[in-house]
């Protein structure tokens, strides 16, 4: 990753005094020791890519590219290293830090944003690939003075504890209700040829790409159901 320290604290909550990279090496070393005996202790000081595909010393110069994004209705032009993910462009270049970096590998959903109206993991797309796209982040959904109904519902139902996953949860939940309205089926849709309904089972399944380490799932579900119920009536 282009900046391994950025936002990595979420992987390390409770170990704030630990450098995330050292922590990672420590884990690997410990496991290697358990698996293969003392010989593996050398892993801690071995090159990072002992069996990697590339020579870690050969670092080519960055390639820069111009990107235009329409973020929350505003057109922004950036010059970015081609390696910059949409997530890093939002947070580091545009300082829209509402979108969070959790795992940085598409597993946790903290970075969920809407691109051209569809939810995606901002960590798994490059900014250059989104040239010309319309991006909606949590900052474009509502403000403290003017909350979106979904944000208000999360507050009303206490749909978070630490709040780190919440921007992703809210972006995802808006997309979930939109996907149901568009008739997109899910794994739990019983009848593939009928329109799906915003039942609790459907919402649970469709929200499975957003992890909440505090375990606020029941209240997140209640918040989304509240908004879905309001939409239906």
């Amino acid at each position: 990753m282009s900046n391994p320290n950025t936002g990595a604290h979420n992987n390390n909550a409770g170990r704030q005094d630990t450098n995330p990279i050292e922590y990672y090496s420590f884990r690997l070393t410990r496991r290697s020791l358990l698996k293969a005996g003392a010989a593996s202790a050398a892993v801690a000081i071995a090159p990072r890519h002992a069996f990697g595909a590339s020579d870690a010393t050969a670092t080519p110069a960055p390639e820069m590219a111009n990107v235009t994004l329409k973020i929350n209705g505003e057109t922004r032009q950036l010059e970015v290293d081609t390696r910059t993910t949409l997530l890093d462009a939002l947070r580091e270049n545009l300082h829209l830090t509402g979108t969070k970096k959790g795992c940085d590998h598409g597993q946790c959903g903290a970075c969920t944003v809407l691109v051209d109206g569809r939810r995606i993991n901002a960590c798994l797309t490059l900014a250059v690939m989104q040239d010309g796209a319309e991006v909606t982040t949590i900052e474009g959904i509502g403000t403290p003075e003017n909350l979106h109904p979904m944000q208000a519902a999360f507050i009303k139902h206490d749909g978070y504890q630490c709040g780190y996953c919440t921007p992703g949860q809210i972006c995802s939940s808006l997309a979930v209700l939109s996907e149901i309205e568009q008739g997109i089926p899910s794994h739990v849709t019983l009848d593939l040829v009928s329109a799906p309904q915003a039942t609790s089972d459907e919402i649970r399944e469709r929200m499975s790409g957003n992890i909440c380490r505090c375990g606020a799932y029941a209240n997140i579900l209640a918040a989304i159901e509240d908004v879905a119920g309001g939409r239906k009536s």
Binding site: M1, S2, L28, S32, K35, V43, A46, R48, H49, A50, F51, G52, A53, S54, A56, T59, P60, A61, P62, E63, A65, D81, T82, R83, T85, D104, H105, G106, G109, T112, R118, R119, I120, N121, C123, L124, T125, L126, V128, M129, S172, A175, V176, E179, Q182, G183, I184, P185, S186, H187, T189, L192, V193, R204, E205, R206, M207, S208, G209, N210
Partner: protein, 316 residues
């Protein structure tokens, strides 16, 4: 992540030509697997060819009653297509059983077929892996192999292909269409797409350098009852331990393909022929050459019981 140059291309031929000209080039479409691997420096392309601008995002009927799915059709759109839901339900079901809503919105049909294994030793650059670094060895053989292949593997590699979609594509006898840098087009049956790992597990598909997938074609609908049953450690958003895709006709004949057990979707015609003789006969044919590790032996029993359950359900 290693630095790379980046270009957008307008036609499949342009993409394939560019890939041939630049060593270390890779195509990128959804990017959900490639970027993950680039961050870990398991994939280190020096040049990315963004193929998202190619007009390969349509699902069109074919003259013989099938469907031609563009390589760039997103997993969400393929699963939600009314024709797929009606005539190829097993494909919709398989797609919807995979990944998360966010990932399905980005991931493409061709990219899904080309995704790499999720073997933890492939992902761990401190460990030997014959896929990642040919000749370095396989840490999975004597490692934690609960998730790994029970059939079709070799002494060099016991990785599984992680796709759900591919299992349904194999069941439906889908055909992959490609174009190469010389403009030559060819059709590859999904059945022939992933060679056995043997002692060259890094050669994961039969694609040549610079060859680009343009579409995946489904033959005319089979009718029958379509089922995709995925058994996994969580109810959602997890890779299969075992999955079973089935199309079963009223007379009990049909076909089955399994995911999570091999380097490719696992289907044998001789096993299909046993469908009217009950699931035990099907299971015995499918796994006659099984070679599990002590850690993943359970997959055989799981596969047997999942097959039995699916075939019982199919017969109503």
């Amino acid at each position: 992540m290693k630095a790379f140059t980046y270009e957008r291309v307008k036609t499949p031929a342009e993409a394939a030509t560019s890939a041939q000209k630049k060593t270390g080039a890779k195509f990128i479409a959804g990017g959900t697997n490639l970027l993950d691997l680039m961050k870990l420096e398991i994939e280190t392309p020096t040049h990315l060819i963004d193929v998202n601008g190619l007009a390969l995002d349509k699902i069109e009927p074919t003259p013989d009653g099938g469907l031609r799915i563009g390589a760039l059709v997103r997993n969400t759109d393929l699963a939600a297509d009314a024709r797929v839901r009606r005539d190829y339900a097993v494909l919709s079901r398989a797609l919807l059983a995979g990944a998360s809503g966010q990932l399905r919105n980005q991931a493409t049909t061709a990219g899904n077929l080309l995704q790499r294994t999720r073997c933890p030793y492939f992902y761990d650059t401190h460990q030997p892996c014959n896929k990642r670094l040919p000749g370095s060895g396989c840490a999975a053989l004597n490692g934690f192999s609960r998730q790994h292949a029970v059939v079709g593997g070799s002494e060099s590699c016991i990785a599984t292909h992680p796709s759900d979609m591919a299992v349904a594509m194999r069941l439906l006898d889908a055909v992959i269409e490609t174009v190469d840098p010389n403009g030559f087009e060819r059709k590859i049956p999904v059945a022939d797409f992933w060679p056995a790992p043997g002692n060259t597990p890094h050669q994961e598909t039969v694609l040549n350098a610079g060859e680009l997938i343009t579409a995946v074609t489904l033959p005319a609908p089979l009718g029958g009852t379509h089922i995709y049953r995925k058994v996994r450690d969580r109810a959602s958003y997890a890779f299969a331990l075992v999955s079973v895709a089935a199309v079963v006709q009223k007379d009990g004949s049909g076909r089955v393909a399994l995911g999570g057990v091999a380097h490719k979707p696992w289907r044998l015609e001789e096993a299909d022929a046993q469908l009217t003789n009950g699931s035990q006969s099907v299971y015995e044919r499918l796994f006659a050459s099984a070679h599990p590790t002590p850690e993943n032996e359970f997959k055989l029993l799981l596969a047997k019981r999942t097959l039995a359950s699916v075939l019982t359900e199919a017969r109503g």
